[in-house]
């Protein structure tokens, strides 16, 4: 092999970061296996207690809440994101495409906190949405969005949408238009072409986008914290509460690890499903 002197330089930064991440994971791992000494920031001796604590119903409930939140968010993001991505790609007007792209992507450049704060303004009892609905006479009293799962999902959908639209647009752009033309020529109308050709061929993109949406939502913190206001308890908000309100670092560490393992498991399932689809030779 010839020596490639610069290659080392190229991978060094990534290598250093990888070492840093690995080290922090090890730190979390060792914290999770240490006893919590109340009133002390330093952990005690070796124990499995933290993981047995996680089996308590309160923690199980946080898991279920988080998974449901992820599920609804992924579902609604897909339902909104797919037509958006489709329209963005298929519009003939470059002006419309540009506008849609900007509206979809700008949220990506605002932090999660800024975005969540604007949702508080929109979703509050005297917020924009309730005022509008009341003004139109559609409702008699304000709907409570704040401190509810629905409110958190609405804000999380907005938070997740840009990344999902980007992934779906890439997948849809990949579909050969000739296939749709062939379906048209065989007598299929627009709806049928979409349902039998375009949509099935977008499945890889949909799977990739939903797994990303899932992981993206699972790790969201500011949104459930600020809009859920303690009423919607997710893994991330719980880690924060346990670690930085009760200063029980060992339990927070074990909770983080459990969340991480869970995410890995879910993504592996998505991945397996994807491989099965690919093995059928369809894509």
């Amino acid at each position: 092999m010839t020596k490639r002197p610069f290659l080392g330089w190229f991978v060094t930064p990534a290598g250093l970061i990888a070492i840093g991440i690995a080290a922090s994971f090890l730190a979390i791992l060792q914290y999770s296996l240490r006893a919590h000494v109340p009133g002390m920031l330093d952990p005690g001796g070796f124990t499995f207690d933290n993981f047995t604590t996680l089996l308590k119903p309160a923690y199980g409930k946080a898991f279920i809440t988080t998974v449901l939140l992820c599920f609804w968010t992924a579902l609604f993001t897909l339902l909104i994101g797919y037509p958006l991505a489709f329209a963005m790609l298929r519009t003939r007007s470059g002006w419309v495409r540009g506008a849609m792209l900007i509206i979809t992507l700008t949220p990506l450049f605002l932090g999660e906190v800024v975005r969540t704060y604007s949702w508080i303004i929109v979703l509050g009892n005297q917020g924009f949405l309730n005022s509008a609905l009341l003004g139109l006479g559609l409702i008699d009293e304000p709907i409570s969005f704040m401190f509810t799962t629905m409110g958190v999902v609405i804000a999380l959908v907005h938070f997740t949408l840009p990344i999902v639209v980007i992934m779906l647009a890439a997948a849809i752009a990949h579909i050969d238009r000739k296939l749709e033309q062939a379906a048209f020529s065989l007598g299929a109308g627009r709806v049928r072409v979409f349902l039998t050709v375009t949509l099935p061929l977008s499945v890889p993109g949909i799977v990739a986008a939903s797994s990303t949406a899932f992981a993206w939502t699972f790790s969201a913190f500011a949104t459930p914290q600020m809009i859920g206001g303690g009423q919607v308890v997710t893994i991330s908000t719980l880690v924060y509460q346990v670690g930085f309100a009760s200063f029980n670092f060992p339990l927070a560490a074990s909770l983080s690890l459990a969340g991480l393992l869970f995410t890995i498991a879910v993504l592996s399932i998505f991945n397996l499903g994807m491989r099965r689809i690919e093995r059928q030779g369809a894509y």
């Binding site: 296939l179 033309q181 062939a182 048209f184 020529s185 065989l186 007598g187 050709v197 099935p200 061929l201």
Partner: protein
């Protein structure tokens, strides 16, 4: 305008029967993209069961014309009729056409059978009947044993046959094929050409076939429409196109051609005399009735219609052998000739009878060569 009105007459009637109505009528259809004319106003009538080829170089508007018939494009002007029904405004999926694409465009997420069934299911044919008809069509293209395969698991030729079956199973009013074989290698291509021609003939389906391969056009078509720069230059049977090209473009695009420049010396009382760089040639006046004395014309002759003769033979054009190309069965002789309009003159001679390079020879021209005058040059 170059298009001879007689070329746009309805396809000739079968003797003893009422004139057949055209399966496809293209009535003054034109199309431009962003202000550039891709297809000039075009009139074409295609008989029921006819195999019509659109032949022309890249960018001449073949695909544009085909997409107009298919309905993927809307004409700027003109009307389209399929089986006497006006379809200009009819969307693609209601036109009852079958299309075979260059890159097959098989649905990758369906197996071969599902692909072929597709057009029947969209028409509401019950599942069992759709299956039977799809299998029957797959048998026609000899692929029934591959019904369960995915398109990716088939070779290029097999995929193209599935595409053909998928287009034929709906019994389309017109079958449209856009360079369907250009992705196949030469041997497979030849086999597919024969197979398509056989199937087309046995089903009697009206077919419009697009190619830029003149060999393919000559061997498969009932009629060929030769196109160039968005315009149909000539429509005729392969024999007509080959033997009596309407203009220089058609003559040189289809087959090998020798072109000689000449000046009309006299054109009267049934005789036309030409001066070909010093050689006097006498022809029947019917070869170029409009040519007037003093006019420059082009004389067109296929290599096989020219003969190598001894220098000095009256009426033969003197030439010098510039080089010879061995081709196995014969030798291609390239001759420098003062009368040649462009490039050398080419002749094919038996291997046993090859003059030396540099030898002075003479070329006897056919008795009734094609003469291009005016715009046809």
């Amino acid at each position: 305008m170059l298009i001879d009105p007689k070329l746009q007459q309805p396809a000739e009637a079968v003797p003893g029967q009422p004139p057949a109505r055209p399966a496809v009528k293209i009535d003054g259809v034109s199309k431009s993209f962003d202000g550039t004319l891709a297809l000039e106003p075009t009139w074409l009538k295609i008989r029921k069961g006819e195999f019509l080829t659109l032949l022309g170089p890249s960018g001449c508007g073949k695909t544009t014309l085909l997409n107009l018939v298919a309905g993927f494009l809307e004409p700027d002007k003109g009307e389209l009729f399929i089986d006497d029904a006006l379809v200009t405004q009819v969307p693609v999926h209601k036109r009852e056409i079958g299309i075979v694409f260059q890159n097959y465009a098989l649905f990758p997420h369906m197996n071969v059978l599902k692909n072929v069934e597709y057009g029947l299911r969209t028409r509401g044919v019950p599942a069992a009947e759709a299956r039977d008809r799809a299998m029957e069509t797959l048998r026609l293209v000899k692929l029934d044993q591959f019904a369960d395969r995915r398109p990716k698991q088939l070779s290029g030729g097999q995929q193209q046959r599935v595409a053909l079956a998928r287009a034929l199973v709906i019994r389309p009013k017109v079958l449209l094929l856009d360079e369907p074989f250009s992705a196949l290698d030469r041997n497979l291509r030849a086999a597919m050409q024969i197979e398509l021609k056989e199937i087309q003939h046995s089903l009697g389906v009206t077919t419009i076939f697009v190619t830029h391969d003149q060999g393919e056009a000559l061997s498969m078509s009932d009629r060929i429409a030769v196109m160039s720069k968005g315009r149909v230059r000539q429509i005729g049977s392969p024999e007509e196109i080959y033997a009596s090209p309407a203009d220089r473009f058609v003559g040189t695009f289809v087959g090998d051609a020798n072109l000689l420049t000449g000046t009309v010396t006299t054109s009267e009382s049934g005789t036309l005399t030409l001066d070909l760089a010093g050689t006097a040639l006498t022809l029947p006046q019917s070869a170029a009735p409009e040519a007037a004395a003093g006019e420059t014309v082009e004389l067109f002759a296929r290599p096989e219609a020219c003969q190598l003769v001894a220098p000095g033979t009256p009426g033969a054009v003197p030439a010098t052998v510039s080089f010879a190309v061995y081709q196995g069965a014969h030798v291609e002789l390239h001759l420098a000739c003062p009368a040649a309009a462009e490039g050398p003159i080419m002749l094919r001679v038996p291997v046993a009878n090859v003059p030396k390079v540099g030898a002075a020879v003479a070329v006897a021209l056919p008795e009734a060569p094609v003469i291009f005058t005016g715009e046809a040059q």
